[in-house]
Symmetry: C2
Subunit: 209 residues, 2 copies
Amino acid sequence: MFRLYYAPSTCALATHIALEEAGAPYEAVLVDFSSQSQRSPEYLAINPKGRVPALVTESGTLTETPALLCFVAQRFPKAELAPFADPFALAQVQEFNSYLCSTVHVAHAHRVRGTRWADDPAAIEAMKRKVPSNVTECFALIEHKLLKGPWVMGNDYTICDAYLFTIASWVEADGVDTTELPRIREHRTRMLARPAVQKAVAAEGTQIG
Amino acid sequence: MFRLYYAPSTCALATHIALEEAGAPYEAVLVDFSSQSQRSPEYLAINPKGRVPALVTESGTLTETPALLCFVAQRFPKAELAPFADPFALAQVQEFNSYLCSTVHVAHAHRVRGTRWADDPAAIEAMKRKVPSNVTECFALIEHKLLKGPWVMGNDYTICDAYLFTIASWVEADGVDTTELPRIREHRTRMLARPAVQKAVAAEGTQIG
């Protein structure tokens, strides 16, 4: 039985969805950000980075969403959540997920976690002002170039879809005009029709959009 | 014959090293940042993100360092650069590389690429001021928790080593006190003794440290 440490409205939702899609045995454990539980000694013993998600497995604890997604896909191959037999196709999955974690999530985080990168309140406000245009630029690239359709990688549903759905659930709050993103909105609708997605979203009580 | 698009002193060095370690057939193509070539129509046709690295392969073009590293490791299995047969071990490799791309590289980038996240010059200066403490915090975690030794993953040299070596080559300029990082300095020395590393570093003319 795995344990997924999560908080609502974070990127942990992507792994939560993947675990459901894979039919993995797991329990979801809430980390209460409102009481700063992610900084408690108990949680730092699980994940010294003080963030979610963290996944406790039979072999040890893993963090970082792209790693967790790949782990779930490879550990539960029957679900066919990633093309492990094809190096180029797998690299395309990794490429998409790396872009989400290193550029898109980071662009978003400057609205809500600016204190990570500056102490000056005016600088934190300056970062917030640039979030709508930065996140819009990222999602324009996804809309027009990266999202093959109907799923991210084309006809095959993969771990990329869980991750895109999760990060895209923040765009309205980030100030993005979603009328310019019809394909990403269709992707959200398509995702919300999947039982695994419904179950993970309901379990977290996460707001989508 | 692959083509690796790179610029000196960027994270492209990690893939450059991995290609050398793998004995892959490739040529390295310089993208001249001083003339903003990464924003030229010709380069944007190769990589619409306008960044390096990009790797043109027989199957198409790939970007994002963690994806390129995994691709090289899986495509050239004899080099044994990643533990593809073991889902947990492979996830540990991905976890480390994801941390480098989404947190450590990003912490560094606020010194040299602050205009990505704010327009106000005072805000950009405020970001720069926080870089030494942020990058120090990242590397303290690597020094004390993540780097198993002698290589990142322990006894086996992997793609994580090429990536750590690359990002760690920026820490002096980021204002980090490396006397607190003896294990990371030893790792650098160990890397510089490898012919593949020497060849990639020399080809790029990259300064280490």
